[in-house]
Symmetry: C2
Subunit: 236 residues, 2 copies
DNA sequence: GCCCTAAAAGAACCCCGTTCATTTTAACTG
DNA sequence: CAGTTAAAATGAACGGGGTTCTTTTAGGGC
């Protein structure tokens, strides 16, 4: 980059600095800001998606963002909405409840897996009310009800599965070798099991996080089926 | 509080400001700093546990902390160690593998549940190597191996369960009514199921997060048992 | 044409983690 | 015991963060 004199510096995008005052053509919108935020998170990580950085990317001063977005938290909530819309729920119309639940969970996690550094950010913020997430829940709960799950238990099942999905998504944003014990001799069995797993996964080309997610998902769904059977036997 | 003149202000704890230079008696230690950090997180939340706030609480300038702690991330890693030590693993010496796994998972989550606002913080940071967490893993993996789990699968089971535990811990730090759809008529079945569950839980005095955790844990362990049986049948 | 409002710039405020130089003291060393 | 080195505090500063407030300009409705 060429050096800019301090009293003649210009923002990244526009060649000439914009005058103060409302511009002739609209420059910003909530949608544009939110999408830029998600793009920066994907391209350069969470830390590069500050209000100031987003503003610079859009060739705008930070304070201009506040004409369209209430603040950083609301912005991140918008990003969550943006990607939540991409979780397909059509499996509930085609598959039996347990298979549909598994398909939904995989999609759910895949969407987060596409934006790994975002997971930690979303984990911190409470859900916004009136969110599209709720209509996703509607599809899940309707299917569970149709399958015979009592109204009293359906949401509990949903939350349990969602906890697993989010926990697995967090696992995704951690480095693959996070658990690597290295050359320690005080944890021999863990070391050996760690290496045995690494070897197996290398053979099949599977990511560690994927193996754990699939195993846990299978186990959870199988357990749910057993639970439903037991509910039907005793409760009815 | 009375107003303090700007050139006569004093820190919170000591009545008189400490002179510059090394004090006669040691004032700080890594242990003291870490425990103060955890206490502030518990009492006033994550945001109140900044380096500056911790320093003020200890009657010290922020820069003094860096003589004992490398930085904020290492400090939080120390807090994780502090509470990880409190997860009991003795169940693996007394109970069969599946019951022990469940007991361990409950303790694991209980420890985090005691510090709800900490969960989001820990979720973001990668594990420090050489941590006590690894010796906890050793106990889990040894038991799984003794129970017949192949070395190639033990760590995968561990990670799957841990993902569920951490996801459930995150759920704990969210407000209880986060999912409440409120008076919406576009999600009728979810609304009805939400209210049915709320009524059931109110009857038995159970927290929603606890119900989901127990259900999911039961399902996971049951699914793991089925998985192990299937492994024994086909693989051997 | 006037007025209110929207949307930008720009300046400022207070927070944060961190680094550096300085000062004082403790601990070690010959 | 004197001298040196290392440790542990202060104080000042840096660069970054989210946010707010004022000012300026433009658009749209009566």
């Amino acid at each position: 980059m060429m050096a800019n004199r301090n009293d003649d510096d210009s923002a990244a995008a526009p060649a000439t600095r914009r005058r103060v005052g409302r511009p002739r053509a609209g420059v910003l919108s909530k949608r544009l800001i939110t999408e830029t935020c998600l793009r920066l998170i994907d391209e350069r990580g969470t830390e590069a998606a500050s209000m100031r950085a987003i503003a610079a990317e859009l060739g705008v001063r930070p304070s201009a963002l506040y004409n369209h977005v209430a603040g950083y938290n609301e912005l991140i909530a918008g990003v969550r909405e943006l990607i939540s819309e991409r979780i397909p729920v059509d499996a509930f119309e085609r598959e039996p409840w347990d298979a549909a639940l598994a398909t939904w969970a995989r999609h759910y996690r895949d969407v987060f897996a596409a934006h790994p550094s975002l997971v930690a950010l979303l984990a911190v913020l409470p859900l916004a009310e009136e969110s599209v997430t709720t209509v996703m829940y509607e599809a899940v709960i309707a299917k569970l009800g149709d399958a015979g799950w009592p109204d009293t238990h359906a949401v509990t099942v949903l939350v349990a599965l969602e906890s697993f999905v989010l926990g697995s998504a967090l696992d995704l944003s951690a480095p693959d070798d996070m658990l690597d014990p290295g050359p320690r001799d005080d944890v021999p069995r863990f070391s050996s099991a760690y290496r045995a797993r690494a070897a197996l996964l290398a053979e099949t080309g599977t990511r560690p996080a994927d193996a754990s997610f699939e195993l846990g998902l299978r186990a959870l769904i199988a357990g749910f089926s057993a639970e439903l059977a037991s509910l039907a036997a005793t409760g009815r």
